[in-house]
Symmetry: C2
Subunit: 631 residues, 2 copies
């Protein structure tokens, strides 16, 4: 076990420190005021902050008081930012800007902030000639240097004349002042599709600061992209491990600092956002060291426990209330499940068919049915749990009866518990905590769990995707955006290489209001696998399963679009089965009604190499669920 | 009074019909399922709908049943859409597409939809040569024509080979089939910055359909722009009256149909969205006829009663509960207001200073203090009320005592009542309903109401802006986006030419959640004008007004940024006054604390031609209000 994880485990107040370069965060990343932001960053485990000027300006704390609060929180103040539109073709503006800088140096001295970020000018009177900018920055560097301060110059992607790191570096090189260096921000560099490989040849000691942000790939004005859509590393589309690798190869040894803002983070609970942020940095450090072994020493990467291989879904546990329990049990029976087996010490039933296992937890306090927990089969449950904990996953307390299996569990950002289970646990593992399951179901051909679909709380979609992926060692497998009856829905499936574990996350593209149809598109579901969907559907229908009605119009459209063989079309129509096709193959699936609260079931068959989730049919399901709820 | 307004007034069930071309709406504009959408469109007063295919496909109603429902609702079905990716370089794909079209013609016959929208292909195998596309569309037109149906062809702005209306028209011209015409969509044309003037020379009878949408000016991928950011006419940046003028000049006589989708409408109450949509069309018809008199007959424009000139704010009425009433009264007194005068028959007080009048309404049922009503002084209150009603504003019932003034009022989308008042109403007008105001305040130099600032419900920001603007005859005067402590905030001020009436609307760029600081940035306020802000601030402080504390850091930053004269800076700092500058002049202002519920006051002085609202200082205020609420 490394120093890092020892620390993680040992620090009782939730503070976590890492070896190697400091993890820092700009206060602009977090919602609220300094009173909210500084404790949030500290408690999550950051070692430093960049103070965003508007946060200071609106604060009742004098700079010296901010310095003390940060010291109390064990946070270093690494940077004060931003200083805008410094260089100028007009002498009187330049002089006003030097006066402005002197005032900010006063503030920095009181703050104890050693470094000022100056970003390239967007003003109409910005200087074009790089020698002249260099000369003006030299003046600024001299003034800073005289006070023991430093200045780092950053090329904004939308700077008027300076908008690439190559140009900002050339200016810093020509300015040639020891108190003047470069600030690199992955957003500004990668959004312009600059090649970051050139960074590796910049002298490391001239890179004074590094800001990290990821982003989704968008074709839009880069200023708006930056303002509304940045993401923490690993949540967007860019190769940040490669980027960081170049910076470390150059010899940069300063803080790894996040500067990320988007419409969601600007509103989210800063305490949660800070944990999400630090997790993203930990995962980035791991990925960088993995991909760039020469930088490993520089990253100071503690080996996170590697993610053990996964064997599949062990179980899904539903929290049920009295109303929904009966409907869910009836549905499981009609879908051919055997049960119930009962837990030795807890009010938990197990229902089984093939490798599919559904636990129903009737513990009091459940408001409505929902997916309470996922069990994943891992080759090394203890290592999985250690990794999760190292990645800041809250470890859940477990109450274990005598001779019962020990199951480690952590809480995902969406509130779902994730259990780490031994595979083939029939005799000795967690399954032995249950009485044998009576073979009362007839069996309908269900072989296991294909995927679990979890609608995410709006504020935590990107957080959840990163969490499931880095904690469980999954990858982004499939994404889509669906125009559903009550608004656009984003879907992202994360899965392991072998597709044994698939978790589908979804969220509305806009936070839902309460004025109109709240929650109608938000159910969660478990999708079971079968090798003969039509047979399973037939058996389920015969047994009275509450399958969802699919409109005739759907089949007319399916005929027009995909022209399935008439006999198949007839069966689909009869059985309420839906069809999708992708380049790899076909997908047959059917849904149940919502069975209470937020839960329904799906049964799916993948034919050929089909690797999607039938999202094209999701609006049909949502409209039908709405009819069911409206009654 | 025109036929149209007679009808508007006469139809008791809220159904409104207009003369001239039918007002239609695509079902994709509205949230929900057909069960929600069709009644919403009909009740708002639309005459026709475009049926969006996914709405039909997910509906349990067979096409014939949809036809009957529409007939019951007096809605014509004008179009079925969209049919995608028709033309193809691959013969087997073309044949599959012709088969698909035949199936859709079956549906259209059952629906009673006469027209199919075919949009230009985005498929990899789309045809490049326009003669070949024309030939394939000719085949499609023939099949449609044989069944008494028609097809209109639309160039998607992101079509693979056909993405301008000029090109789609050239294809339709060459295809030369009577059942094949053109569909024009303002979004696809204006988003590509095509010159719409050329439309006027297309033979009108070959324009089979017209879809209207506005949009904000954005630099982004046009497909994403279209998918997420369309707006109803008048809510965006485009000159839709000019666009519609060209189409009408061409001789188009078909429906004026809205096809608008954005992330907000996709989630909003469809009944409200439909009213907003129809209001936008009515305003567009008026603006088009005004700017293009030759098209007046063709637009079939009924003269809306013109918006009478406004003289200023007559009053602001606050709804107050017991807790807030005392604090607000104390604040008004300390700000130098005289009062209370009391209403003859209602539990309403009046407080006055100069031309500023604040009504406090203590009627029971008020949960918390809020701005309940605005009074505007109009040259013709009755005409203002008729115009508002013609623009679908709900008219509010008034209870009037004997010999009391008659005040017409309508409800704005944000719930605020808007009263139309006679100017100089001292002796005979609404002011005579109040007992004279005791001159108990000392007077602090307040001369009137500068503006009223209303935070909007998230779903109705664009609706509200259009409402206030077109009902009151105001214009967009000033807009900004502010990075505030709890998320980005959009501001839009609407005002009359003389700046007598200024209404400032604001909304968070993302709907707020409840997880973190709900409502903290949402207060509403009244801004009073003074000609000597420092004197007013001094008097208010001396009288103990609950003025907001402004951090010292603000003044240090102000000094660094704007370098006001040292004596002024000292006064600002002493008095808690904020400063802003724009090209035209300077703005001095101060705020009170939140006085209960959602309400606070501001006092402002405009120096020179300053025409903004000091938004740059809004984050200072929000942070201070947060401290007040927390502390």
């Amino acid at each position: 076990m490394t120093v890092w994880t020892e620390q993680a485990g040992a620090v009782p107040d939730g503070r976590r420190r890492v070896a190697g370069p400091r993890n820092s965060i700009a206060t602009v990343c977090l919602s609220g005021t300094l009173e909210d932001k500084l404790p949030a960053a500290a408690v999550a485990g950051f070692g430093g902050v960049e103070i965003f000027e508007p946060d200071l300006v609106s604060s009742p704390w004098a700079p010296g008081e901010v310095r003390e609060r940060c010291a109390d929180l064990d946070l270093s103040i690494d940077l004060y930012q931003p200083f805008r539109d410094f260089d100028s073709t007009r002498q009187e503006v330049l002089e006003a800007n030097l006066r402005r800088a002197d005032r900010k140096f006063d503030v920095m001295e009181q703050l104890g902030a050693p470094l000022l970020l100056v970003c390239s000018s967007v003003a109409p009177h910005a200087v074009h000639e790089i020698d002249r900018i260099a000369e003006q920055l030299h003046q600024l560097g001299s003034r800073a240097g005289e006070r023991g301060l430093r200045v780092c110059y950053e090329a904004l992607a939308w700077g008027r004349h300076v908008n690439t790191y190559e140009r900002s570096w050339e200016i810093v090189r020509r300015a040639d002042h020891p108190a003047l260096g470069l600030c690199l921000d992955s957003f500004h560099i990668l959004s312009r599709r600059s090649d970051p490989a050139g960074i590796a040849s910049i002298p490391g000691q001239k890179i004074f600061f590094l800001q990290l942000a990821d982003a989704p790939r968008l074709e839009m004005d880069v200023l708006q992209w930056s303002r509304h859509h940045r993401l923490f590393p690993g949540q967007g589309a860019w190769d940040l491990p490669a980027f960081l690798g170049h910076v470390l190869t150059a010899g940069y040894t300063g803080p790894l600092s996040l500067e990320v803002f988007n419409d969601v983070f600007r509103q989210s609970d800063p305490a949660r956002a800070a944990v999400d942020a630090l997790r993203s940095l930990l995962a980035l450090r791991e990925a960088t060291a993995r991909e760039l072994p020469v930088a490993r020493a520089r990253v100071g990467l503690p080996d996170l426990p590697a993610a053990p291989p996964l064997a599949g879904h062990a179980f899904v546990e539903l929290g049920v209330d009295d109303d929904s329990a009966a409907r869910i049990v009836d549905a499981l029976r009609a879908l051919g499940f055997d049960g119930p087996g009962t837990h030795r010490s807890k009010p938990v039933q197990i229902w089984r068919q093939g490798a599919a296992r559904v636990l129903l937890n009737g513990a009091p306090g459940q408001n409505e049915a929902s997916i309470a927990a996922l069990g994943v089969e891992t080759a090394d449950p203890a290592a999985s749990a250690r990794r999760a904990q190292a990645l800041l996953a809250p470890v859940l307390p477990r109450i274990r009866g005598p001779a019962e299996a020990e199951l480690a569990a952590v809480a995902a950002p969406d509130g779902t518990s994730v259990f780490f289970c031994q595979p083939s646990a029939e005799s000795s593992g967690w399954l032995s905590d249950f009485t044998p399951t009576p073979a009362e179901g007839s069996g309908a051909g269900i072989t296991g769990i294909d995927h679990v679909a979890l609608t995410q709380p709006f504020d935590h979609f990107d957080e959840a995707a990163l969490f499931y992926r880095c904690v469980l060692g999954l990858r982004n497998q499939h994404s889509s955006e669906v125009a559903a009856p009550f608004g656009l829905v984003r879907n992202l499936a994360v899965a392991d290489q072998a597709r044994g574990v698939r978790i589908c996350l979804s969220v509305s593209v806009l936070r839902r209001g309460t004025e109109w149809q709240p929650r109608v598109t938000d159910p969660q579901h478990v999708a079971f696998a079968t090798d003969d969907l039509l047979a399973t559907a037939r058996a389920a229908r015969a047994a009275g399963a509450p399958l969802l009605d699919v409109p005739n119009n759907y089949y007319d459209d399916l005929d027009a679009r995909l022209a399935p063989p008439p006999a198949l079309l007839t069966s689909l129509r009869e059985l309420g089965v839906l069809l999708d096709r992708d380049a790899g193959g076909e997908f047959l699936h059917f849904y149940t009604e919502v069975l209470g609260g937020r839960v329904f079931f799906e049964v799916v068959q993948r034919i050929g190499g089909y690797d999607g989730y039938g999202e094209t049919n999701a609006p049909i399901r949502m409209a039908a669920h709405r009819r069911q709820r409206r009654g």
